[in-house]
Symmetry: D2
Subunit: 356 residues, 4 copies
């Protein structure tokens, strides 16, 4: 059985991001099916009740799920449950919450300070984090005081924290009495890449609040704040409408998230995207002189390529971003079709070899 987008030429060429794509056809069908009858507004409907059960099963423990319309809201509202004004949130220096959300984390928290920490491969270095925490704590009067560590999983460099890295940061957080927030805009890609149960990731990282990405992986402007603590969930309910995120026709968001979990659709989609990325990565690596700036743990590839190769690929119509460290960024979604790109790379390789 074929899904229409598979034949869509856009997905042969456009690797700019994973938010440029479509709504998963299964999800779209369920949306259409759900478009009947009346339902209580503001999340008091049955589909939203079902969602709570579905996600609790997914994470193998009771959780509280709050659909929101943007990843920015998921992160910023989620962080506001854990941080106060005048407090500090530590994250990696490449994290979205530090420098790509236009001030939203500061706004939602009433002015918490986002404090960047270094670390290889887009992941927080525990020693650097510890040093920064101690420095902030050394002057309680003048410094914002750390309350939260925010982990991006997949990181903005496409890498995943493995369970032992999560445990190490969780131990640091516990030692320093910090809460752990996880920005999981690409949580599906990370979980698929790690090959572990999602609940294990949460457990290893002692995560209190997760931004669970949906939009980048086939939903229609739906992410979710997943809360792993009853008291925080109560506070979240109090903030839900006051931050402009409580959807009145909630059922149309909830049904997407439930559909997304069913039969592991979210993971299957992530796996397709990750596979596509791995194929692209291999193809790039087989070109002389190309190397990857980062290992590929999910759906993003960061090759460092020659000007010639860039010119060639752009002339063929491929779309991708310039990134830091001299790399390009290629992002795959479940709809991505890589054959054309693989072929182009093969062709370039042959021409180069012939030419040399």
């Amino acid at each position: 059985m074929t899904s229409a987008p598979a034949h869509d030429r856009h997905f042969w060429f456009d690797f700019v991001s994973d938010n440029i794509g479509v709504v998963d056809p299964t999800v779209m069908n369920l949306l259409t099916e759900a478009n009947t009858g009346t339902a209580k507004a503001y999340g008091e409907d049955q589909l939203t009740a079902k969602l709570q059960a579905d996600f609790s099963k997914l994470f193998d423990r009771q959780v509280w799920v709050f659909p929101v319309s943007t990843g920015t809201a998921a992160n910023s509202l989620g962080l506001s449950l854990l941080a106060l004004p005048y407090s500090a949130i530590l994250c990696h220096e490449t994290a979205h919450v530090f420098n790509r959300e236009a001030g939203a984390p500061e706004f939602f928290t009433g002015g918490a300070k986002i404090v960047p920490v270094g670390g290889n491969e887009g992941k927080i270095d525990p020693d650097a984090a510890r040093a920064r925490i101690l420095e902030l704590k050394s002057n309680q009067r003048s410094n914002t005081q750390p309350r939260v560590i925010s982990l991006t999983q997949l990181s903005d460099w496409g890498t995943a924290y493995d369970l032992s890295e999560l445990e190490q940061l969780a131990a640091l957080a516990e030692e320093c009495k910090l809460s752990v927030h996880m920005d999981g805009a690409r949580f599906a890609n990370a979980v698929s890449g790690l090959g572990v149960d999602p609940g294990k990731v949460i457990q290893a990282g002692r995560v209190s609040v997760l931004s669970f990405g949906g939009t980048k992986n086939g939903l229609m402007n739906v992410d979710a704040i997943v809360v792993f603590d009853a008291e925080l969930a109560a506070e979240m309910r109090r903030r839900y409408r006051g931050t402009g995120q409580l959807l009145s026709k909630m059922r149309f968001a909830s049904v997407q998230l439930s559909a997304y979990c069913e039969d592991d659709l979210w993971l299957k989609r992530a796996e397709r995207a990750n596979n596509a990325a791995r194929q692209i990565a291999s193809a790039f690596e087989s070109v002389d002189g190309v190397r990857l700036a980062m290992p590929v743990h999910g759906n993003q590839v960061f090759p460092i390529i020659s000007d010639d190769l860039e010119t060639f690929l752009r002339s063929q119509g491929f779309l991708f971003s310039n990134w830091e460290l001299g790399a390009k960024r290629f992002v795959c979604s479940a709809e991505s079709r890589v054959e054309t790109l693989l072929e182009a790379l093969l062709q370039f390789r042959q021409v180069s070899q012939t030419g040399s």
Copy 2:
């Protein structure tokens, strides 16, 4: 060609609100059609560009449209363009922005004070507003200073400001150097009820920022902030992501709003809802002892009914809210089917008369 919801028994009985309903079938079809290919994220796509043109045509002047996911966000973020912390926003004492949005206007403005003003039929009394403004201005040191007047059109009592009422309040706003904000969660019902061009409503009220409702009238969690001033639009762009409202897959919101305008779909839907309300109103009025708490200008009816009638209607399965002033509230949408209710009222009338 029939649309499925028309036969949906829910719409024969459920008059609780207009956010309990479905997505308009035409809109849903266009959504499905738009679900193909890639598009630039964050509103840089062609459908969002088209939306700007569509709405500029709708209002017969250049406007700037910003889709958002909730009416609360539309109001609160819109108000934040006009008010500062430490300032006052005047509204009717029954307005949503005063007491139904869980602190969102205060949060988005950083602490502006929402100041309620009285007035008949849910509409601000200009003299009461003037008196309140002068009182606040009389002590600039200790009082929050008024900057905005927010008009709810339809009001929370289902009534519409007519053009001359709008002009009167706009003159007051100009005299006192206030901006005018309009909460148009049910703007379609108001415009349809007044029978005037939407641009005339904006012009009469000298409205700077409009919350343009979509969700209550057939869209899938999509409202819009419509800005009528270039500088405010620039500021809105700066705040769009930082408040968690900039949708990454914006095209799926934009296409709904464009579809909504096409062939006056939004007004046709509102007209159907308003017609349903008028029929219900007439039927109630023909029952002895029933009177309407408010005139019907849109899709809401507020009958004051006997306990017997309430018991009878609830026993038949009708759903509706208890409201203030001893009234019940019946809200209609375009899908509402009123025949069953009309019949029930007729039946009650006959039984009562027989009984007496």
Copy 3:
């Protein structure tokens, strides 16, 4: 031994407020004496350590004292320890925190809603409060949720809650899980008027955070936030600098507050002011046709007087405010000299009687 201000004609005529006056001479002397040597900044000095001990003795339990420069900051920062954005703070409808602090409580709390409650004599009616709390709690989704009740002691009508009134409101707060805040800008006048230990007032009201007034009763722009809970005190320390209130040369504030407590200076000053008010009240009451709008529990008198009497008093040079309910307001400080006013009232009485 005479204090210069006693002979100051200003204090014979000016009854506009109690923040128009001087710094107590004893306090000023101690300030001058303290002006020697160096001391650690930001409250790490010995005078500030002494202050903690002095106030713990004053309240007969461990307390944490945070000097601030304005009553507005004391109230607003104190409330921010107890309320969150999206929450509600209940207070009397005449309370400063509701309508006289230019949006400061909203700003410091990040947008909490200040909800006014009625009640006689400027004091919250427990039944009205309960009704309002239940109403807010009845719609957790749309209403800001109550977290704090703020009592003004003295109230803005110059009245004091007695211990049994405080106990009643404390019981309501406990029942509804609210914290109790006390705006004690004129706490000294209330305590003196009630004739009880200050600790009893705190205990009866289960007060968590007190704004302890100093400026209105003889200090130089120094009030204090007194916190009665260790955890709240820790949070207060974190917010102290981030809200711009942590004084670098703190010792000059601390020494004033310590001096103020020594030998009950604060209460002696309040007693003098209250005595002056009582004398004025009696004199007004002995004039035919004059009545007091409120009982006199502290240093404020609210007589309702004839136009003739007002004209006469103003012509003699007396300064006082027009107030609500048709009353005038006379406020006394420890420096007030009432003989001239008493004489004027006697003279007016005689002339009136002669005239009639």
Copy 4:
């Protein structure tokens, strides 16, 4: 005529900061003299009116002065006039507003982002600033947008921007449509060090809002926000009370600031402090192996000294801070007496030479 503090041993040994000291005796005398009679509250008194005139004369143009109780409030409230939430404020990476005010700038602005820029000697490098501004502007959607550049004069490394450096940054600000804020906690030391009129500094830097330091240079917890633009001053008035900074007994702050200007007291005090610093600097430089981490433009000296010398000085009872770059920090005030320190350094030099 002698001033007591001159003989105070504290000032022979304590070089920790300039906020550990006393209130200037002249200022204290004037405070005592002003402590008579009544005055209108909240800045409507005559001393506050005089202050406006005094400062307008000082800056040779009309200015608006707002006394506040802390430098943190001066900076943060001042910045809130120029920045919005979701916007960026650029400053040097060592600036107080970036990392020493416990989140206050973020809180007062509702969440603006403070963006650090590098540069030698504690001063912003214009090229680095331009690069950072362009980078932020390159992604208007995701980045906070720059609105303000904040200059610290004296910088936190004790250095002053000279007029041509100010002009260069002002030109950059104008080009990029940024406002200029100046943190002048040690403005007096900078002006004295530069030997120019204060108005010239403001003019060269096109400064809109100045934090004018008083506390560090002899006042009793009084700094001032000086506003150079009528509209910003109007906005400042609206925010004055709502941020908890409007003093009710304002005259006691205003009289200090007026006294401070009279006969150039503020500059004479700064000159004494700067002279003391220069003497210390020379003495350190004459010790073998000691060098200054920074040039001395004001009242701070940052020598890099041997462990032996540190041990020796601490054993003699000298107090000073460890600083960055391996330096120590010595801060002088007008009361500092340096003879003892000079003698100790001479003694150390002699012992060292004998020893070697």
